[in-house]
């Protein structure tokens, strides 16, 4: 996948990000250059504190960077004012979190419908589309369940359905398998892989879990705020 025919969905150049000031200042990203292409799943891996999540937040436009440029789908995201960035994020990105972040008082279908409601789509239509999305992730019989009545794997699948219901072109995933057991983690990654294969979408996954590396197309390794290597992942039978 090094020789990409697809355009870059994310183009990051010279990204620098520090936290704190004076003696306590810590530079977390030290000049990151990275391209992520449509139709691929990129894994961001590396040791804890290496800057993976910070880079993910910067790509998602939910964290201001100190220097550099990030273009997402041709839009200079890092230079957009916060309000426009929020709107852009809502229209083009989906998020999957380690802790799921489902609203406990809402049913699975209502949780999935949230991105549509944010886009001011009517509640009835949003719920219908949310149910259809839950059907796609195999939770058609759990649409009216509250998160507390779902297993961890089911909750993450609800989160995936929520991330996909808006048909985002960029899917941002932070440790999506961290709270799941092995088999559930594999299922979730397979689902994300399927999304990543779509030619007009791409998936970025921060993960520690080496058991799921096989699902990615490329893997960028971060150490001490720098990308120390990007490699294509060779799967069994595809080498």
């Amino acid at each position: 996948m090094d020789d990409h025919t697809q355009p870059a969905a994310v183009r990051a150049r010279g990204i620098v990000k520090s936290f704190g000031t004076g003696d306590t200042q810590v530079t977390v990203l030290r000049g990151i250059d990275l391209d992520i292409y449509l139709g691929e799943m990129l894994l961001l891996v590396g040791e804890s504190g290496g800057g993976k999540t910070t880079l993910l937040s910067a790509i998602a436009g939910i964290l201001d960077i100190d220097a550099g440029d990030i273009d997402v789908l041709g839009v200079p995201l890092s230079r957009l004012p916060p309000g426009k960035r929020t709107v852009f994020r809502g229209q083009t990105m989906g998020f999957i979190y380690q802790q799921f972040n489902l609203l406990p008082a809402l049913t699975a279908a209502e949780n999935v419908a949230i991105p549509l409601l944010i886009q001011k789509i009517g509640r009835h239509e949003a719920i219908q589309r949310a149910r259809a999305m839950l059907d796609r992730v195999g939770l058609e019989d759990r649409t009216e369940f509250l998160p507390k009545n779902l297993s961890g794997g089911q909750q993450q699948r609800v989160a995936i359905a929520r991330a996909l219901v808006n048909e985002p072109r960029l899917l941002i995933c932070d440790e999506p398998t961290a709270a799941l057991d092995g088999p559930n983690g594999q299922k979730v990654m397979a689902l994300l892989r399927e999304v990543g294969r779509s030619p007009d979408r791409c998936v970025v996954v921060v993960t520690h879990d080496s058991r799921v590396f096989q699902y990615g197309d490329r893997m960028a390794r971060l150490t001490d705020g720098r990308i120390v290597g990007i490699e294509s992942i060779v799967r069994e039978g595809t080498a």
């Binding site: 939910i62 964290l63 929020t86 994020r89 809502g90 802790q99 406990p104 809402l106 209502e110």
Partner: protein, 376 residues
């Protein structure tokens, strides 16, 4: 997103109930205490409202209606001669002791009405005919006099008692508003009232008057003041003057004001703290919404909707409970409880302030929230 906001609010049942209880209690306390306070103020000017005339002419130095400062009997004619006065009649008001047949004494307020017009009489008569007050030795009691003097079994139409060793015969029972001092009222004619009381150089308590139709009452009052040298007030102004005297010379205002303020502070503290906790505990969820594209304005609207929903629910419940309290305890006018729309409006404003401040604290917290919190 309104739907999501409300589901979030109702979903955290414990906090929702705590918020609701705090606001309900706060509203109930403010409405209950405010209504009792206003009821007491109404009682304090009962002597004015029971007479129900447009203009009161008094001694110029009068402080309040129950502190009678007699004026010269010529004042009636002097007021009548003022341009713009349609009519003017005398009113006697004074304290006296009634001696029942049983030998019991009761302090009463003797009210003497001008006999040809009976202006100042109560509007409602419960028993007998008020006009029979013109019969010899006739008096009319109010319902509180019956209650204070032993009840309907002892005092009724036909009962005879003594006022200053002179005979008084009850011919009717009238309905009046209870007064602040709760002293029973005995009505008779002005001339007979002067016969009941010990002789004084000045016996006239007030002159009651009315301006001619089409004239500005305040102008006529000003002319009465200028031409007679007496005090003159509209019914409303005299009532306000009396209320202000009570507030200034008793601890009622401070006592009730403190309780009402406490209700406000308790409501503010409970609502503010609980609502803030509610927001803080949902920070990750709000962060997730922000990451998914919810603007700061959307989140602020959600918070305001939550705050005002629970606030208005608490407002309704608090008013309901206070009204039930008033209905149960103040039935028949035996306790002061006057729930006015002005009080309810003030409480609504106070409650909306509590909700707005509580919501504002949370909104500020959310405005500073980095959506990146969801990745931590």
């Amino acid at each position: 997103m309104n739907y999501v906001a409300l589901k979030m609010l109702f979903g955290d049942r414990a906090k929702y109930l705590m918020l609701l209880c705090g606001l309900t209690f706060s509203v109930m306390l403010i409405v209950q205490q405010g209504s009792i306070f206003w009821g007491l103020m109404m009682w304090s000017q009962a002597s004015i409202s029971n007479v129900n005339v447009p203009i009161w002419v008094t001694d110029p130095g009068i402080a309040q209606v129950d502190e009678v400062k007699p004026i010269a009997s010529t004042a009636v004619d002097r007021v009548r001669s003022v341009d713009g006065v349609e009519w003017a009649v005398p009113l006697y008001k004074g304290l006296l002791r009634a001696r029942l047949a049983s030998g019991d004494y009761h302090q009463i307020t003797l009210t003497g009405l001008e006999s040809s017009t009976l202006i100042g009489r109560p509007a409602e008569v419960l028993e007998g005919r008020f006009e029979d007050i013109l019969q010899p030795d006739a008096v009319v009691l109010d319902q509180w006099a019956v209650e204070r003097m032993g009840g309907p079994g002892i005092v009724t139409v036909g009962t005879i008692f003594e006022l200053n060793d002179k005979l008084a015969r009850v011919v009717a029972i009238a309905k009046t508003q209870k007064s602040f001092t709760n002293i029973p009222v005995v009505y008779t004619t002005y001339e007979r009232a002067l016969r009941y009381v010990p002789r004084e150089r000045r016996a006239l308590s007030y002159v009651l008057a009315k301006a001619k139709d089409g004239l500005v009452v305040d102008d006529v009052i000003q002319r009465i003041r200028e031409q007679t040298g007496l005090g003159a007030f509209t019914e409303e102004d005299f009532g306000v003057k009396t209320i202000m005297w009570v507030l200034k010379n008793t601890g009622i205002g401070i006592n009730f004001g403190t309780t009402i303020l406490l209700g406000f502070i308790v409501g503010m503290a409970i609502a503010g703290q609980t609502f803030y906790l509610f927001t803080v505990e949902n920070l990750r969820q709000f962060g997730a919404l922000k990451a998914m594209g919810a603007s700061g304005l959307t989140l602020a609207r959600m918070i305001l909707l939550q705050a005002f929903t629970v606030g208005l629910t608490g407002y309704g419940l608090g008013i309901g409970l206070a009204t039930v309290f008033g209905f149960l305890t103040a039935r028949g006018g035996s306790l002061p409880f006057v729930e006015t729309w002005q009080l309810l409006l003030l409480v609504l404003i106070a409650l909306l302030t509590i909700c707005a401040v509580s919501a504002l604290i949370s909104i500020v917290k959310l405005a500073r929230l980095e959506p990146a919190i969801v990745f931590r």
